[in-house]
Amino acid sequence: MGRVLLKVIILGDSGVGKTSLMNQYVNKRFSNQYKATIGADFLTKEVMVDDRLVTMQLWDTAGQERFQSLGVAYYRGADCCVLVYDVNSAKSFETLDSWRDEFLIQASPHDPENFPFVVLGNKIDVEENKRQVTQKRAMTWCQSKGNIPYFETSAKEAINVEQAFQTVSKNALQQEAEEQLYVDYPDPIQIDRESTQNYGCNC
């Protein structure tokens, strides 16, 4: 059997650093230039999770209002959702709620209560006095949403990025694997010879 593919969706307001985080994680690169993502983009990365080699497919979505609704097709079958905000922007933190809702509505996972999210507070490299969201506030929110794992990151200085995505892949794999063993075996069908079924192969 081929390698497991984990589908990860990254959501958050425009400019919080979703693309940069992904780039840092996958390509170990950071660029100061801001280039808005149009629609969606994805990167893949091979990772070891619990001694298993898996392929992570990271979907970077556009944070701009005009692209916000990408539709059900993109979100379908996601194994983990990463919510990103900018610790220096209170607004980007406050919209996490609606990003989470948007995801749950669009992806409609079978068990929304236990669907794995990971929250990243990005841009902690910026000077302290610009910070608008405290760690405590963020952690309280994460706890209230069912103990979502929380990381404070800097895509620019590669702080905590690796660790955060390790948790992402681990939780994604767990979500992917659970319950999958339970596959029911359909009953053989009853053959009703008397009911007419004709296809024209009158041989």
Partner: protein, 598 residues
């Protein structure tokens, strides 16, 4: 968003098939009756059109004076059920959310730029398209078609690429396909294919699965589409449609490979089979050519006893072809189900199994996609080692001898192992297949043993084996003694069966077979207007530098003939008539008729 560097034609199916200008039918022969068949994939002939049988006698109603074939085609004969024909290209601009529209527009812009470019280029490309049929274009040969199956979440299910190759690239392909299809789906639209120069990427959406084929063979879109449809049916035969639906209702991120693990050989052998199988291409059955009385005698022995309550079909096969098929009075079998079943029976894991019989659950998707029936499969006759040796030598000396076009796993370019063994057993192995809805394995086994004994005792099994081994179950076009005739495919429409000679010189190499099969497919597609052509032609005549290919559809039959390119038109008509006369004469042994029902 990674944009496809290609030209998409999501909403105008008429673009798909470019019939090169040189291929027009000469006026004196053409009869452009505008019978509109619905376009689609697997065309399913509905039975019971009254008068079909009786009109078979008017086959020869060919007016040679002006060369026009006068048969009317009953448009109801070919009804297709393909959801693809609906809602293709419907773009609901009004209902769109602005954001989605934006994304869509962006994609459209990217694509239309590409389209303009390729339109400009098209002038040159036309030469390419034409030269597909001309001899020197096969320079690059026939690159294996690539197939991908993924879930609608973008998770890989199957790929025709050899194991472990390009894993990273593969997950990108799956992602791109899912993203592309999603953009259109979110607008209530479906992407059918992308044309990029010679390469065509065909998509088939059978939620929760997406099917993709990339091919540069120059075949009509309907051909790759039907390949994907068969691939879907084969997957359903393993997991059933209802189980598939239930699983994905519960978990949209399900990795289907867990369920399909170990069944890749079925899919690979199907892909190999589809490449040259003209019975699959014409949605019909190609039974084994056999002496009529022997076939009847064997069939009588296969009628189940009243104790076998849940028996659905009993099928005897050899060389991957059906010898006879016994069925309940009120059930007929869909050709696609036979093909899926035969492919399953001849998959290496079954045909090479050291066990005396296999008992496997299989879903016959056209019969009932919701559940399994049980298939008892046993090979009654296997060549002994001496025979194998003999077979090996003949095969190596005479490549063409093993091909009937309809029945082989042999030339599978997808890396099926132990190909030689498969081919050998397939060549003379005679398989008995009993499809039962019940699970009373012992009853079925006992009955099959009795049947085998009976066939052994009365010598029919021996007679069958001799016929198969001595090559009497196939014929060559040259045997017909028709000047200029190289090959043909004749489909009896009331029987939903085809007959065709084995390929011989100059169609004895793999590439030349691929080439001629593709030409047949082009003509078949045009005659049935399967690619959105405005009207279906009753007669299509193609002349390449190497041959003349003519397709002709009438009420009782379809005929496709390949002739020497220098033949004058009158001789072409004569040859076509001579073939139909010959088939009529030999009908008894070419087609499966009057098989017993119970």
């Amino acid at each position: 968003m990674t944009s496809p560097c290609s030209q998409t034609t999501p909403s105008s199916p008429a673009h798909y098939l470019v019939i090169p200008p040189v291929l027009q039918s000469p006026p004196s022969l053409s009869n452009l009756k505008d019978h509109r068949f619905s376009t689609g994939n697997l065309s399913v002939t509905t039975p019971g059109t009254p008068g079909l049988e009786s009109s078979a006698s008017s086959v020869m109603n060919l007016d040679l004076n002006d060369g026009i074939l006068v048969h009317e085609v009953d448009p109801e004969l070919d009804t297709t059920h393909s959801e693809d024909t609906t809602a293709v290209g419907q773009i609901d601009d009004v209902a769109d959310e602005g954001s989605r529209k934006n994304l869509r527009d962006h994609l459209r812009r990217t694509l239309s730029v590409q389209r303009e470019k390729s339109d400009a280029k098209r002038k040159n490309d036309e030469f390419l398209e034409i030269s597909f049929v001309s001899p020197d274009t096969t320079l690059e040969g026939y690159r294996p078609r690539e197939y991908f199956v993924l879930t609608d979440a973008g998770k890989p299910v199957f790929t025709s690429r050899p194991d472990g190759q390009d894993v990273e690239n593969l997950s990108s392909i799956m992602g791109i396909v899912q993203a592309l299809l999603s953009v259109f789906l979110d607008d209530g639209d479906k992407l059918r294919c992308i044309n990029a120069g010679r390469l065509r990427i065909t998509f088939l959406l059978r939620s929760p699965l997406y099917y993709v084929c990339a091919s540069s063979w120059g075949e009509p879109e309907s051909v790759t589409r039907s390949h994907l449809e068969y691939l879907h049916l084969q997957i359903l035969s393993i997991v059933t449609a209802s189980q598939l639906r239930r699983i994905f209702e519960r978990r949209t991120n399900f990795d289907l490979r867990r369920l399909l693990d170990g069944s890749e050989p079925f899919l690979f052998s199907l892909l190999g089979r589809m490449e040259l199988d003209l019975a699959m291409a014409t949605s019909s059955l190609n039974c084994l050519q056999l002496d009529q009385s022997l076939r009847a005698r064997v069939a009588e022995a296969l009628v189940p006893t009243s104790k076998m309550k849940d028996t659905l079909y009993i099928i005897l096969v050899a060389r991957g072809q059906v010898i006879t098929l016994v069925r309940p009075k009120k059930h007929s079998i869909h050709p696609a189900d036979i093909h899926i079943l035969v492919n399953t029976v001849y998959s290496p894991s079954i045909v090479n199994s050291p066990a005396s019989a296999s008992w496997i659950p299989v879903c016959l998707p056209k019969f009932n996609p919701a559940g399994f029936v049980n298939a008892y499969i046993t090979f009654l006759h296997r060549p002994d080692t001496d025979y194998k040796f003999y077979q090996r030598t003949t095969l190596e000396n005479d490549e063409s001898a093993d091909i009937t076009g309809a029945s082989h796993v042999a030339e599978n370019s997808h890396g099926a192992t132990s190909r030689h063994t498969t081919r050998l057993i397939e060549d003379s192995g005679i398989g008995l297949v009993c499809i039962s809805g019940g699970s009373e394995f012992e009853t079925v086994r006992t009955w099959c043993d009795i049947v085998t004994q009976k066939l052994n005792d009365d010598g029919s099994l021996d007679a069958l084996a001799r016929a198969v081994d001595s090559g009497k179950t196939r014929y060559f076009a040259s045997q017909l003694g028709i000047p200029g005739l190289r090959h043909f495919v004749y489909k009896s429409r009331p029987h939903v069966q085809i007959t065709l000679p084995a390929f011989e010189e100059p169609y004895d190499t793999l590439d030349s077979k691929r080439r001629i099969v593709t030409l047949y497919q082009i003509v078949h597609d045009a005659i049935h207007a399967k690619s959105g052509q405005t009207g279906n032609l009753k007669l299509q005549y193609i002349r390449t530098e190497k041959e003349i290919v003519m397709g002709w559809i009438t009420q009782p039959f379809e005929l496709y003939v390949v002739l020497s390119p220098r033949l004058p038109k009158a001789a072409v008509i004569n040859a076509a008539n001579a073939v139909t006369r010959w088939v009529k004469k030999e009908e008894g042994q070419l087609f499966l008729r009057d098989a017993p029902v119970f």
